[in-house]
Subunit: 198 residues, 2 copies
DNA sequence: CGCCTCCGTTCAGCATCTTGAACACAAGCT
DNA sequence: AGCTTGTGTTCAAGATGCTGAACGGAGGCG
């Protein structure tokens, strides 16, 4: 299912109080195109969509970032946090990325020697954290660094990253991950298993 | 002066260590198309670009929000974190919401008796945190709760909220905030004041 | 009523994107 | 040398986006 650009564009246009023709005039395209796009009868080229959004005005990034959100529960006791992982690496999930939330917050604990694999290309969005206790060795992209209490990190999840507790003490981290991208089950035909270089 | 999608896509692809053909296979398009896009010889349709980015994977929003300048800083030492606030409430900002980043991470310290006022309601986005040390009294909307080490919270920033350290010990919190959507920039002639889509 | 102006939709035809199969070059291996 | 596998590029042909001009409907006004 392709994303519903049509509805998105329509809501934007209506929000600005413009008719299809008015928007078309500003954008330098024809009203027919606006109509077709809003009905999802075409998938506009990026250049066309950019022209259209320039007439609003709105950036492509803003357009695609548009989303909704809701928020039920506020407080979470330590005991009721969902815990995943094993003895080596435990993760307490404060707020799942589900339910349209824009943020996941984790309370992680790394036993001495524990490490996360080179989990690759799985996450999206961005990730940040603060070391609360102990020390952790973090590798992102090419570079490696050992972080202690109070130290922090921030990187795009798509970059290959690896956490490892090289010390003797338990390491504790509070980390946040964005966004809550609804896991689209996109089975890629012929997706290679080990096609990753170093 | 079409935006250089080509360079952007190329840098993304290379960052993942994929060849044009490898990416094409994952994305379900042909290698020729990848080549043409990277040379800016075509302006891909949104559906095609989405297919391509799904092979990375990366969302359209992330792609267009991407800064041209490659990846920013990853590691932050405790000492170099920007500190704001006073003696009562100190905030160390790991990553500002600027520069297209989608996440702000704070390391906050509340002295005994310290409190944040009933803050701004204009602040959009969501906010979550974990108590690392001490106890904090949190009021969100109507309800109040005292949270201890390991306890957590999650709420939408629009709700009136207030933090207060009612104990005698310093309270330490790591919290994450999703930034408010950047408002539309240029004033549009004839832009209606308040027209939110339902 | 007729006439005008706006709205969103539709469609033939032209422009552009996209494919599939070539091409040329480089590196490794027999 | 040849052979194989990889890289990125190019191009005719087919698929799709896009235009320009139509269409039908909803008001407003004489």
């Amino acid at each position: 299912m392709t994303i519903d650009i049509g509805a998105k564009l329509r809501s934007v246009r209506v929000a600005f109080g413009l008719s299809q023709r008015a928007l078309a005039r500003r954008a330098g395209v024809t009203n027919g195109l606006i109509s077709l796009i809003e009905q999802n009868r075409v998938s506009p080229s990026v250049s066309s969509l950019k022209k259209v959004l320039d007439g609003v005005p709105m950036t492509l990034a803003e357009f695609f970032a548009m989303d909704e959100g809701g928020q039920p529960q506020v407080f979470f006791e330590a005991a009721e946090l969902v815990e995943t992982g094993d003895a080596a690496v435990s993760r307490k999930l404060v707020a799942a990325a589900r339910a349209g939330r824009q943020l996941s917050l984790l309370h992680e604990r790394f036993a001495p020697g524990a490490a996360t694999g080179d989990e690759i290309l799985e996450h999206r969005g961005e990730q940040a954290g603060v070391v609360v206790r102990g020390r952790i060795e973090l590798t992102v992209g090419g570079s490696t660094r050992v972080l202690g209490p109070g130290d922090a990190y921030y990187f795009a999840c798509q970059l290959p990253h690896r956490f490892r507790n090289a010390g003797r003490e338990v390491c504790e981290i509070v980390s946040a991950v964005t966004p809550p991208r609804p896991a689209v089950a996109a089975p890629v035909p012929g997706f290679p298993a080990g096609a990753e270089p170093a």
